[in-house]
Amino acid sequence: MKRRTFLTAAGAAFVGLQIPIRNALADDKVIRFAMPQDFTRVYTFVTVEYSQGQRDYISLVNAKGGINGYQIVADISDHGNDLPRALEAYERAKAQGAILVDPLSTPVARALVQRAAADKINLITAYSGRSDAADGETFPYVFPLSPNYWTQAGLLIDYFRQQDGDLKGKKICFVHIDTPFGKEPIPILEALAAKQGFSLQTFPYTPPGNDQSAIWPQVRRAKPDWVVFWGAAVGQTVALTEAIRNGIPMNRVASSVWLSESDMDVVGRAQATGVLKVEPCASGQSPKIIQDIIKTVIEPAKGAGDRAKVGTAYYNYGVMMAALMIEGVRKAFEKAPNGPISGDWLNAGLNAISNFDAEGLIPPTTVTNTDHQGGGQCRIARWDGSKFVPATDWFSANQDVVWGEIKKSSAEYKASGK
C-alpha cells in the first residue's frame, strides 16, 4: 500500500541500529550487564537511587581494575514498565551479549522468566518478580538474591513475637495495595496466624493508593496490636500519613523494604518517628563499601547522580545488588578462569556465592543451586526522626513456612508448563 515513508524511516533506523550491536560484540575484556529499568512510571520512586547505587559500585570495581582484568559494562535504559519496550530491551541486551538482566519491575520480570530460562541469561529480580523464584531448582536462571516478600512478612511477624513475647490473642492489621504484589504476603500471614494464634485482619486499598481515608478509620477502630502496611511509592506515604492522622502509635506500625528517607520527608520526619521497616542491607554512609565509593567514585566527580542521595536506603539496595552480581562474576572466574563468558558461566558463579557480606553492608549471604534467595536474612530498623536505626541484628525467621509456600507455588508453576 502506501508505506514508502515508513519504510524509508524503518530502513534508516535499521541500518543505524545494526552497527552498534556488531561493534559491541567485537569488544573483548568486557562483561555486559543490562539494566533496563523503569525510570518514568510505576517504579520511579526507587529506580533513580537504586540505579545510581548500582552504577557507582560498578564504577568502583572498574576503577580498581575490574575483575580479572575484565571491565563491567552496565547498559542502563528505561523500559517504562511497558512490556513491549522491556522485551525489546531484553532482546537488545541479548544481541549485545549481556549475560545478566536486572529489570527491577515485577510485570517485566514475570514476562521474562521463560525467555531468560530458554536463552540462559541470568535474570535478577531483587525485590520484584515472582517470590517463588527463590526455588533455584525450578527457576535456574532467576535470582532474587534478596529476601522475598514472604520472608519479609515472616521476619516482621517474628519481630512482633520477640517484642510481645507471645502473639497469642493479639490482633494484627495488614493494610495492602490491592494488586497481586500487595496480596502476596497474605498466605504467609494466614499460616503464621494459625500457627501462633494471633488474629489477622486485611484491608485492601485500590491502587495507586493516593486516597486511603476510608481504610484507616477502620484500622483505628479495630484497635490492632500491630499494623503492617504493604505498598509502594505514593501508597506508602499516604498510608503512613493516614496512620498518623488516626493516631495509631508509630512504634506499632511496620512495612516491607519499601520505605525510604524521602518517604519520611513527605510524611514529616519527626512525626513518623518510630515506624519500622525491613532492612535488607545497612543504610547510611558508614558501611565501608559506601565509604570506598565516596572516596574513589564520588569525590573525583565520577558519581552517577546527586551526591545527596549517596547512602540512602534505595541507593544502598542498588549497591547491594551490584555487589552480589559482581561477587557472582568473581566466583565464576574462580570456577572457570578462562570462561567462556556466558550466561551459563555466570550462573555457576552466582550459585557459588557463599557467606558474602559485602564488607558489612549486607547480612552473610549464601546462594546455592536450590536457594536463590540467599538465606533470607534481614534486620528490622526503626526510624528515629533522621535515619533508620537497626532494631535487631541480622536474623532469619519462619523460613519453614516461607519455603513451604515457595515449594507449593513453584510446583504449581512446574505443573502448568508442560
Binding site: S213, D263, D265
Partner: protein
C-alpha cells in the same frame, strides 16, 4: 456494622469527593468553552504542585505566597497552551484535539520530573495532622480544609459562568465558527478557560500533593476526575460538585461495607458501577445538557 464508623466514612468521603471535584471542575471549564475533554488536567495539577514546590522549597517563600504565585504562573502556562497548541486545533475534529491534550500530558510528565528530579517531593501547607474529634468520630483536618477550599473554588466558577463573560464562553462552547462570525474572540475565551482551569489544577495539585507528596503520580488524578466530570455531566459545574460528593461518599462507604465481604478493594468497582448505571439512565450525566438533535 457500626453506625459511627459509617458516619465517619461518609463525612470524610464527602470532603475527599469535593477535592476530586476540583480537578473535575477544571476539565468541565475547558469542556464548556471548547468542547474538549482535557486529558492533561492531571498533569496540570502535577505541574502546578511542582511550581508551588519551586516557590516554597527551592526559593523558600512561605506557602501562602508560593501557592498563589504558582497559580498565577499556571494561569500563564494555561494561556500559553491555548496560544501554541489548542488554537491550531480549532475547527479540527474534536478527538484529535483531545489526543493533543494527551500528548501534552505525556510531555508534562516528562518535563517536570525530568528537570526537578523524579523522587517524591514534600510540600507542607501547614495543616496539622492532628484530627478533629467529635465524640467517636474523627474528622480528617486536611480533608476538611481541602474540601472546603475546593467547594469555594467550584462555587466561584459557577458564579463566573453566569456573568456576561460566562455567556460568551458558553456561546463559544456551542459553536466556535458561529462565535467567530459574530466577533467573539474565540481564542481569548478559550485561553481564559485554560488559564482558570490551570489555576484550579494548581490548587488541586497543592492540596493532593500535601497528602501524597509530589511526583508524576499526581497526574493519575485525571482518571477519577474524568469519571466524576462525566458522571456530573461534562458541561455542568454544579453537576461536578454533586457527582464528586456522590463518588466520594459511595467509595468511602463501599470500602467500609463491601470490602470485608468480597475481600478486595471494591472502591473502583463500585465507582465504575455507579457511572455505568447513571449513564444508562441519564446518558448526559446528572446535570449535563442534552444534545439537541435535529436532522
Amino acid at each position: 456494622m457500626d453506625a459511627s464508623l459509617l458516619l465517619e466514612l461518609a463525612v470524610n468521603g464527602a470532603f475527599i469527593g469535593m477535592m476530586y471535584a476540583l480537578v473535575s471542575a477544571g476539565i468541565v471549564l475547558i469542556y464548556k468553552t471548547s468542547g474538549i475533554a482535557n486529558l492533561a488536567q492531571g498533569a496540570l495539577a502535577m505541574t502546578g504542585a511542582y511550581m508551588a514546590w519551586i516557590g516554597g522549597t527551592l526559593i523558600g517563600l512561605p506557602i501562602w505566597v508560593a501557592a498563589p504565585l504558582a497559580a498565577a504562573v499556571m494561569f500563564g502556562i494555561g494561556a500559553l497552551i491555548e496560544r501554541f497548541a489548542m488554537r491550531r486545533m480549532i475547527g479540527q475534529p474534536l478527538i484529535m484535539a483531545i489526543m493533543l491534550t494527551m500528548g501534552m500530558e505525556i510531555m508534562l510528565r516528562g518535563l517536570m520530573p525530568g528537570i526537578l528530579g523524579a523522587s517524591v517531593k514534600k510540600i507542607d501547607i501547614g495543616i496539622p495532622n492532628a484530627p478533629i474529634i467529635l465524640g467517636d468520630i474523627l474528622i480528617n483536618r486536611t480533608l476538611l480544609i481541602g474540601g472546603l477550599i475546593s467547594f469555594a473554588m467550584i462555587v466561584a466558577s459557577i458564579l463566573f459562568f453566569n456573568s456576561r463573560l460566562g455567556v460568551v464562553m458558553r456561546a463559544v462552547s456551542d459553536d466556535q465558527t458561529a462565535s467567530w462570525s459574530v466577533g467573539i474572540r474565540v481564542e481569548r475565551a478559550i485561553a481564559i478557560a485554560w488559564g482558570l482551569s490551570a489555576v484550579m489544577a494548581t490548587t488541586a495539585g497543592v492540596l493532593w500533593g500535601a497528602t501524597q507528596g509530589i511526583d508524576w503520580s499526581l497526574s493519575l488524578l485525571l482518571i477519577k476526575a474524568l469519571a466524576i466530570a462525566i458522571l456530573g455531566g461534562l458541561d455542568s459545574i454544579p453537576g461536578v460538585l454533586i457527582a464528586g460528593i456522590i463518588v466520594g461518599l459511595v467509595e468511602s462507604l463501599a470500602t467500609g461495607i463491601i470490602d470485608p465481604i468480597i475481600g478486595g478493594g471494591s472502591r473502583d468497582l463500585v465507582a465504575s458501577a455507579i457511572i455505568l448505571i447513571t449513564l444508562l439512565i441519564r446518558p448526559h450525566g446528572l446535570l449535563g445538557r442534552e444534545h439537541i438533535e435535529r436532522v
